[in-house]
Amino acid sequence: MDLIHQLFTDYTLRMVALGSATLGVVSGGLGTYAVLRGQSLLGDAISHAALPGIAVAYLLTGSKAPLVLMLGAAGAGWLATLLIMSVTETTRVKYDSMLGLMLSVFFGIGLVLLTYIQHSAGASQAGLDTFLFGQAAALIQRDVVTMAALGGGALVLMVVFWKELKVLAFDPEFGRTIGLPMRAVDILLTALLVVAIVIGLQTVGVVLMSAMLIAPAAAGRQWTNALGIMVVLSALFGAAAGVSGALISSTTSGLPTGPTIVLCMGAIVAVSFLFAPRRGLIWRWVRTRRHAGRFHLEAALLDLYELGMQHEDPFRPHEVGALDVMSAVPARRLLERLEASGLVRRVGGSRWALTESGLQEARSLKEERA
């Protein structure tokens, strides 16, 4: 309660929480497309590649206004992505090599520019290096408004071009055959991703930004097969992790915001991987167990039927030992469970026979398998 009270009264906390929530919604929603297209690591490359853009924007304008720096970052990130696309299309260099190369080369050039600014003419680079590791606590209203405006614009574009982006994510070849300009859509999506990344740099920093794109989508993917629901879920997960990370880090000393948000995100991913219905690991484990159980029961019933047919009397009782030889697991427990459903009956101490309904069941199983 105290925390919620603080959220409304404490300016810094409110800004950090709002900023992180905005970032979570935008990167979660747009990250969905990157993950679905197998371009999860493109975000990592873009966020590193944004650095020289920030330095150049500052060198050109002398301003540290968030919008100016973000535009510079966006320009550099976008340029790096275009270079990655065109080099992989024109030579045999692979996509992953280009990602790693552009990421480190652009980042290196960014470092050169930042240190150059720092060393030259007494200009202060303070404020520029917050982009490296992010400094959520330093967010002010001006930053949050810029983030919300840019991110909101990106989300609106995503909704406007919903159909095109969907085709791009799942079947770009089909899109080409029906005459959609898929290359333009690809460039649009890249531009939207660049926006999502750029607004996050100041909050979580270069290294952790990729997780903000990937993790919400990876979690959302486990709960649904529908794109619309996945986008909404990812945005919600992103926002939840953003807000909870911001709150936890502000109430505990020595917990930087960016990493805390990423760890909250990691927790959401872990829960989704384990517990999501149908795809989740626990669900999968239970289903495998259940299938295995039914398989053994059916096998035991059929064994009893086969033994009966060999003696030309389907209702003839058989020793449990004879069934044990045929079964992969101890037959006794299987028979007891079959007895409970009225398919077999116990004759004397350790002998078992089919019932009328057991015979019918065995015959229909036989037919099914044939």
Binding site: G100, L101, S104, L111, H119, F133, A211, L263, L281
Partner: protein
């Protein structure tokens, strides 16, 4: 050049060579981004190792960090086998989480010691000569020189010893498994090299330069040759050239050495990308141009051959007529004819085009081939 400068260049050259060795295989195996993941994910290992020993130079630190590198590989593989996410998303989930844990450990417990995230990411090569390797009071040179030299030797030794296995596992994993080479073992062996190299290099050059040197030179070498041994050799060479070139750029600009080296990796790649004799962009353009002219000459020869000796030849076999018949522009037609004349394919008499013996055989060959 001062001794310090010579020592820095020596260290940089050795780092470049040590990185290029495993890097060549990463690029060929399409696992370039693992270098990015590992070089970030070793952070918690470095921190834990530092807590255990309180000494940034301790070998325990390298072991702990290398173990974290392998943990990264293991986690990525495990996530992939669940098939809940694709490989790139698995990589993008694992390393930011491990990196976050490292950052939080530093922020909470190591705020006042010499260990910060900047150092790990960016490194400071300029300080490397100050950390001396001293035995019994005699100064044997910078410590990094020995550490990186050792790692470089280890990498070279591993690749020399398992060259055949690495080669087969890289180009034909199925064959490697059939021959009993244990691809998994080779995979983890290679990843151990990447981890150890990244750890050893971190305090000298930072993790971003490790990524640049592991991926950039091998990606450039990949455009220069089709042979594995030459590719490894060229990678080492290009890496060393980038490192030394970067040092002098940094020197001139008074900027980050690691950043300038990464930038130089990009420059070297760009030059190779443009000028590589077979797979470069210019070579591709030249090849397409040559093919265009060769095709036009062939078309011309066939056209002349078809009408040769027939009554209509007086009309058909004229430069002016090509415009209409082959749908060529007048200028293009004149240039093709001139080029064909130079190449000795035809003669020109009173505006009439006559094939030479060579031109005739070119036409018949082309017709037979189709």
């Amino acid at each position: 050049m001062s001794t310090g400068q010579i020592e820095i260049q020596l260290i940089a050259a050795i780092v470049a060579a040590a990185c290029a060795l495993p890097g060549s295989f990463l690029v060929l195996r399409k696992m370039a981004m693992m270098s990015d993941a590992i070089s970030h994910a070793i952070l918690p290992g470095i921190v834990v190792g530092f807590f255990l020993t309180n000494d940034l130079a301790s070998p325990v630190l390298i072991l702990a960090a290398a173990a974290t590198g392998l943990l990264t590989v293991f986690l990525v593989e495990t996530l992939m086998t669940t098939r809940l996410v694709k490989e790139d998303a698995a990589i993008g989930l694992v390393f930011p989480i491990l990196f976050s844990i490292g950052v939080i450990l530093i922020a909470r417990f190591a705020g006042d010691v010499h260990l910060d995230t900047d150092a790990v990411l960016l490194g400071e090569l300029a300080f490397a000569p100050f950390d001396r390797f001293v035995i019994f009071g005699s100064d044997l040179g910078p410590r990094s020189l020995y550490v990186m030299g050792g790692v470089g030797l280890l990498n070279g030794l591993f690749i020399a010893l398992f060259y055949k296995e690495l080669k087969v596992a890289t180009f034909d994993a199925g064959l490697a498994a059939a021959l009993g080479f244990a691809p998994a073992l080779i995979h983890y062996g290679l990843m151990t090299l990447v981890s150890v190299t990244a750890v050893a290099a971190f305090d000298a050059v930072g993790s971003i330069l490790v990524v640049a040197l592991m991926i950039g030179p091998p990606a450039a070498a990949y455009l220069l040759t089709d042979r594995l041994d030459r590719m490894i050799g060229l990678s080492v060479l290009l890496g060393v050239v980038s490192a030394l070139g970067g040092f002098w750029v940094a020197n001139a600009l008074d900027a980050s050495i690691a950043g300038a080296m990464a930038g130089m990796v990009g420059v070297v790649f760009a030059v190779v990308y443009l000028a590589a004799p077979r797979y470069g962009i210019l070579a591709g353009l030249r090849r397409r141009r040559r093919q265009k002219w060769a095709f036009a000459e062939k078309m011309l020869a066939i056209h002349l051959f078809q009408h040769e000796g027939l009554p209509e030849a007086a009309v058909e076999n004229r430069v002016e007529h090509l415009e209409e018949h082959l749908n060529w522009s007048g200028d293009f037609a004149r240039r093709v004819v001139r080029k064909a004349q130079q190449d000795g394919l035809l003669r020109r008499e009173d505006g009439l085009l006559e094939l030479t013996g060579r031109g005739r055989s070119l036409a018949t060959e082309a017709i037979v081939a189709t």
